[in-house]
């Protein structure tokens, strides 16, 4: 017979590995499409980032004396590297992926004690570290060149792009809409001019524009996000609050001055917002666990994204926004708890007046 153990002796079918697998599954459409768009160099970068994460995770677990198999197989490290890869410039050199993957796993996750212990989103931590340390490589955006396109680099050329920095990279790259419009504004050129030659909403919806590797197809990311909602891997609060806040702020500012402030649609489609709202801000470890807290967290992310994009020093603020709100998560969780049965919001036992009870008597 068994030794005494406490109940329940019954369990739902969900596991950590299952959750990670579902999230990766939801990322597949956007990732496959992005690989198609950006060709071999993107595939190399993607694989290198994943490989670096797995190797450094194994090493960290070995040093910490933890069971390697159980933790490596939970899929959380792979997912972190996957999300990081999607936020990198698709033709970034090999060491960006390797350093980023290692940074995310070692300094973003394992130093805190491994899965579930980290305060900050490891992928975004690595992205910010890379952006600040290597601003040139991190802002060189390749224009989409699908495998079948005439100018697309072949396998060997792609190896050169990834591993030796590719000589004529500049000719192949352009700016993103967020970066371009920001630079032009500083030169006194309004959005009516700056956007005309670079921005068409449909391209951004389908992902035919330049930008970070996996952030370009807003539509496929949205579909993946909806899948996660349906499977109840994530809840609606964070993505809805985040997207609505950005749209609302952009809408108000666009009404104030349409030449200076881009319309809400551009903000929703461009940059990493879709990826961030559904896949990054919703990272369970670093976001609040209560519904109300998640709403506040999502709104906070939305405000920060808009503020950084519009008035900050960087064209895209997603990573910073998420990291800042990550830091606020313990505070949010402490103050915004659900109401407990039989207690008021303030935690005191409920009291009913005689009338309230009498009404039940009819």
């Amino acid at each position: 017979m068994t030794t005494p153990i406490s109940g329940p002796h019954y369990h739902g079918q969900r596991s950590v590995r299952g959750i990670m697998a579902q999230v990766m599954l939801a990322l597949v459409p956007a990732t496959v499409f992005a690989l198609w768009q950006f060709g071999w160099p993107a595939l190399f970068l993607f694989l290198l980032t994943l490989l670096s994460a797995v190797v450094t995770e194994a090493l960290s677990l070995h040093l910490a004396g933890k069971a390697k198999c159980a933790f490596l197989l939970d899929g959380s490290g792979l997912l972190t590297a996957w999300l990081l890869a999607l936020s990198l410039p698709p033709w970034a050199p090999w060491w960006i992926g390797v350093v980023g993957g290692a940074f995310a796993i070692v300094l973003g996750k394992q130093v805190f004690g491994g899965i579930g212990q980290n305060l900050f989103n490891p992928a975004m931590l690595a992205r910010v570290a890379l952006l600040i340390s290597f601003p040139v490589e991190m802002t060189r955006w390749a224009a989409p060149q699908p495998f079948t396109a005439t100018g697309a680099p072949g396998f060997v050329d792609s190896l050169k792009i990834t591993f030796s920095g590719g000589t004529n990279l500049d000719s192949l790259t352009g700016a993103t809409v967020l970066g371009h419009s920001k630079t032009e504004l500083t030169r006194g050129i309004g959005l009516d001019v700056s956007l005309s030659d670079i921005y068409t909403p449909l391209d951004y919806l389908f992902g035919l524009s330049g930008g970070s590797f996996g952030e370009t197809s807003a539509l496929l990311l949205l579909l993946g996000g909806l899948y996660l909602l349906v499977r109840r891997i994530i809840t609606w609060q964070i993505p809805v609050a985040m997207l609505a806040t950005v749209a609302l702020l952009a809408g108000i500012m666009h009404l104030v001055d349409p030449l200076r402030y881009a319309d809400p649609l551009l903000h929703l489609l461009a940059g990493g917002l879709m990826l961030g709202a559904f896949f990054i801000a919703t990272d369970p470890v670093t976001s609040p666990s209560g519904g109300l807290g998640q709403l506040v967290f999502g709104m906070g992310c939305g405000v920060l994204v808009y503020v950084i994009r519009t008035w900050g020093g960087f064209p895209e603020g997603l990573a910073f926004a998420v990291l800042i709100m990550n830091a606020a998560t313990p505070l949010i969780d402490h103050y915004l708890r659900p109401r407990v049965y039989g207690r008021s919001r303030r935690g005191t036992p409920l009291t009913y007046t005689a009338e309230q009870l009498g009404r039940e008597k009819e």
Binding site: P4, H9, G12, T235, S289, V340, R343, Y352
Partner: protein, 485 residues
């Protein structure tokens, strides 16, 4: 009728189909019955029989002791063979005082005076007879029913809520009882209403029990004061607080009792026992038990004499090999039995012999803060935060996060993707908290004793000093007198 929604809850696979189809059968008398003296919340009963004595079915075996207790009666006629320590239905497997009865095979009832019309009886008498019959809450909580009824007559009760929820997976004993003995259950409900001098009762049944709902509705027809309500199938609907919320929209204040919101809750099986006790004078000596689980060959609902060993039940139903885990109660809140040589008690609604494939797989891994537990908690707690504090023995922190509001319903642990034994930690912390409270009482008492002793010593010292001063003064006065002389 308007229903309300309690927060959270889960829909675990019910597995009731394993035994729901089998009608209640009478369990044949076993060779020996082991009747523990503690089958209720409160003080254990005191044995009132001698070894070797012959008793009739329903004869008193043990008297209630104190205000919160319940008497225990002979489940069949036979001889008392021993009054000894025997394993209690508890995971610890610790022994408690138990009366061992050898049936004489006649199953002969003691004679009881029968009331002509119970509804002519003064209401207080109902609670009195229920107390004498040793009836306790049969949903598993085993709180002495008469104490609840007695409390209810003094308070402003507006609803008698009859709990036919039976939300635990596998269990079908209440379902079968309502299907087959609806008249008796309804009669019991009417008798309880008479006992608390209030006219209205709501019988709440989960909507997955169609036959039970139909039978109870058909029987309750014509009684304006009774309403049979189908409540949504949602675990833990059968929990008193959640059922009250669902039916009345009211919440029992934290740390308070259902009576504070004017509700008295009784289980359907308790109502049945009240019917037996008031109509026929029969004390509570048997109950319906679901015997189910993958390791059981014929899953059944058996009417079992109290004191029958789990082993007897399993042998009667047949089982394939050793079960992987043996439970008393349902899989969500039931207790693990150390072995099968444990008796059925008044609160035992099920015996589950689970096979390996039915049990949760996977070992615990670190919390990923996914918040599933927060979403499903029917109380509104944050189980992940509570667990962190319980793990670190931070009892004050755990209290701050609502440890004492936790029902131990297991909903959080059921959904946890990291397979964390959350309920286990909470039960541990609750135990620690109780131990700490007890230690504090002990310390306070010791301090009182020490203080009293110090005060006494001081008083004595003062008295001594005063006496010494007096003597000194007397001596001085004497000296002065002598000097003058």
């Amino acid at each position: 009728m308007k229903l309300f929604r309690f927060r959270g809850g889960i829909h675990p696979p019910s597995r009731k189909e394993l035994s729901a189809g089998s009608a209640i059968e009478t369990m044949p008398l076993p060779e020996r019955l082991y009747i523990p003296m503690q089958q209720h919340i409160g003080t254990p009963a005191e044995p009132a029989v001698k070894i070797g004595q012959h008793v009739l079915k329903g004869q008193l075996l043990a008297r209630a002791s104190g205000a919160l207790s319940a008497p225990i009666h002979a489940p069949t006629s036979g001889w008392i063979r021993a009054v000894t320590d025997f394993t209690a239905p508890h995971p610890s497997g610790l022994p408690i005082l138990t009366v061992v009865l050898e049936p004489d095979g006649k199953d002969e009832w003691d004679e009881f005076p029968l009331p002509k019309d119970p509804f002519e009886m003064p209401p207080e008498l109902i609670a009195e007879r229920v107390a004498a019959a040793g009836i306790v809450g049969m949903g598993g909580a085993t709180f002495p029913t008469a104490v609840k009824l007695g409390g209810a007559t003094n308070k402003h009760i507006h609803t008698l809520l009859i709990n036919g929820g039976e939300c635990e997976p596998y269990l079908t004993c209440d379902d079968r009882l309502m299907r087959e003995r609806a008249f008796e259950v309804i009669d019991g409900v009417l008798l309880i209403l008479h006992g608390i001098r209030w006219g209205r009762a709501i019988i709440a049944i989960e909507d997955n029990k169609h036959e039970a709902l139909e039978a109870m509705r058909a029987t309750a027809k014509g009684y304006g004061q009774l309403e049979v309500v189908a409540v949504p199938t949602l675990y833990p609907m059968g929990s008193e607080k959640q059922l009250i919320k669902t039916v009345t929209g009211l919440e029992v204040p934290a740390g308070g009792l259902a009576a504070q919101v004017g509700v008295l809750v009784q289980n359907v099986a308790t109502a049945y026992a009240v019917h037996e006790a008031i109509r026929y004078g029969r004390p509570l000596v048997r109950r319906i038990v679901t015997v189910s689980g993958g390791a059981v060959r014929d899953r059944r609902n058996l009417e079992v004499p109290i004191g029958t060993l789990v082993d007897d039940l399993l042998r009667h139903c047949g089982h394939d090999g050793e079960p992987e885990r043996l439970l008393m109660g349902g899989p969500m809140m039931g207790t693990v039995l150390p072995h099968a040589m444990v008796p059925i008690v008044k609160g035992s609604n099920g015996v589950l012999a689970l096979s390996k494939p039915e049990l949760p797989e996977g070992s615990a891994s670190p919390c990923i803060r996914c918040g599933s537990c927060v979403r499903v908690c029917p109380v509104g707690l944050m189980p992940l935060e509570l667990m962190k504090r319980a793990q670190n023995n931070d009892l004050d922190g755990a209290q701050d996060y609502g440890l004492s509001d936790c029902l131990s319903c297991g909903t959080c642990a059921y959904v946890c993707p990291a397979h964390l034994p959350l309920t286990h930690y909470f039960n541990y912390a609750k135990g620690e908290l109780a131990a700490r409270a007890q230690q504090k009482r002990k310390n306070d008492y010791t301090r009182q004793l020490v203080q009293a002793r110090q005060a006494r010593l001081e008083r004595e010292a003062q008295a001594k000093a005063a006496a010494a001063a007096k003597r000194k003064a007397e001596r001085a006065a004497k000296k002065a007198q002598e000097a003058e002389a």
